[in-house]
């Protein structure tokens, strides 16, 4: 079981179809991420696989459904399930999103945008503090991808995250794909964003691919679909972050049109070359 703090390494978002290839040769990756809610069941093959993998690799448990940015109180059953999962697997990293995904009555199955206001900040600080109290540990909060700007927002996203981290004590999971998507969709530059973040608070990095969607007025939206290879602009931004902040444990997310394990390993190898400073293309 690996619970030592991680400072570097490249891993992937785990897909059960890769289990056989992964268990046959674990050496290609340094850590593994799972979506927490997929493991809220009591037993069966998924847990059996995870137990075997956890004996070999550090684990990152990544929640997608707690609605930390939502108006409703956190669901106590969901919190308890997450705690049981963390107690069972002692993950090296635990993370959730600055987003909401339900309204207490229904799960909306998407990460929905938060208005960057003082009220939302206060509520998010309370929710993150509650989560950290329940789990008895620091968590990392991920910057979301967004396709809309909410009219009430008066804080910049990076400032909101910085304040959330300072007040709750949480770390940040910086998703560089989401960062680029938001800058493209809603304005701002990646440089401005990175300058506003407390880089020392970043505990994990996500890399992923995105799709393009053309609007009627000819503009494009970038869509966070995790359905393709990490794009070159995202890798260049990764390189910039590495120079500014140093190495962080990094996860490649490829969740749709899931590639073969061999293809996914190519992505891991490329990211590792960046992390080790073996690629200098800027």
């Amino acid at each position: 079981m690996h619970i030592a703090p991680l400072s570097r390494g490249i891993g992937v978002a785990f897909k059960p179809q890769h289990f056989a290839a992964l268990i046959a040769d674990i050496s290609g990756i340094d850590l593994l991420e799972i979506h927490a809610e997929n493991y809220f069941g009591d037993g069966g093959l998924l847990h059996h696989q995870l137990e075997r993998l956890c004996a070999l690799l550090p684990l990152s448990i990544h929640g997608v459904g707690l609605s930390l940015g939502g108006a409703a109180p956190l669901n106590p059953q969901h919190l308890q399930k997450l705690k049981q999962l963390c107690d069972r697997y002692s993950p090296a990293l635990v993370s959730e999103h600055l987003a909401w995904a339900g309204d207490g009555q229904q799960f909306l199955a998407d990460l929905l945008p938060v208005a960057y206001t003082t009220d939302t900040l206060n509520r998010s600080v309370d929710h993150v503090a509650q989560l950290q109290d329940v789990l008895g540990r620091r968590v990392l909060i991920e910057n979301p991808a967004s396709y809309l700007r909410l009219k009430d927002s008066h804080l910049r996203e990076a400032d909101f995250l910085a304040e959330l981290s300072a007040r709750s004590g949480c770390g940040l999971l910086l998703d560089l794909n989401n960062l680029l998507i938001n800058c493209h969709n809603n304005g701002g530059t990646a440089d401005q964003y990175l300058r506003a973040l407390p880089l020392h608070s970043i505990g994990e990095v996500h890399l992923a691919g995105h799709a393009q969607h053309r609007l009627n007025n000819g503009r494009t939206l970038l869509i966070d679909d995790h359905g393709s290879a990490v794009t070159e602009p995202t890798l260049r931004l990764y390189q910039r972050l590495l120079r500014l902040a140093g190495s962080r444990p990094t996860i490649i997310e490829w969740d749709r049109q899931v590639p073969s394990w061999a293809r996914l390993l190519q992505e891991v190898t490329r990211a590792r070359q960046y992390q080790r400073g073996q690629i200098n293309d800027t």
Binding site: G43, N75, A109, D110
Partner: protein, 247 residues
Amino acid sequence: MTPDQQRQFSQALSLPAEPAPLHLFAGAPEECEQRFQVYRNNVSSARVDALRQTFPVLERLLGADYFSAVAALFVRTAPPPSPTLHEYGDGFGHFLRQLPALSGMPWLSEVAQIERARVRALHAADRQAFNMATSIAAPAQLLAVPLAWHPSVSLIRAASPAYSLWHSQRRSLPPPPAEQWQPEDVLVWRREFDLQTAQVSGEQCTLLNQLRQGLSLADAAAATGRAPAELAADLSLLLAWGCLCPA
């Protein structure tokens, strides 16, 4: 967002007929409408995909496009209550039964029950099955041992040949012909980590239901009027399948 604004947002996401809550967004209304549509598509496709993963045989029986259409209707009337999406879809079979266009196919809801039972079994708690070979009970004592269902077990008493239908679609075989259109009882469970689905007899169903109520084999035999020896074959099979545990 205030709770009220969030409610407006989520309601418009779930119900395509609702107008987008444009007053919440910054930017030109027409563009905001299209941007909001991205969220609508994400929400609908994620929920429909969750049903598609649970009901692959229903998708095959209905065709992918028709399945997507009825699944989209279902998610609007019965959205998932929690992010644990493998628990979602219990009412889907009943919903299909209520649709006028599918009212002549009540067996669809029984195939749906099989598929939901399989997903439940996949995630059910681990528990050691009762093993006669390692049991300390002598054969005579076995009669008094209370047994229980493995946590993964579901028993479906279908009015249609639901198992044959389900099996035919999985193996690309012809569906059962009209002259073999008989009720079937279906057992779903997990044998360690492997999902199992089998047709069982009426006697096996009765025995399973009695054991579920906590009856020992001797009590079950007394309740059915069958001699313990007559139950031996059924019990041996159920034990060999690994679907019974010490109570």
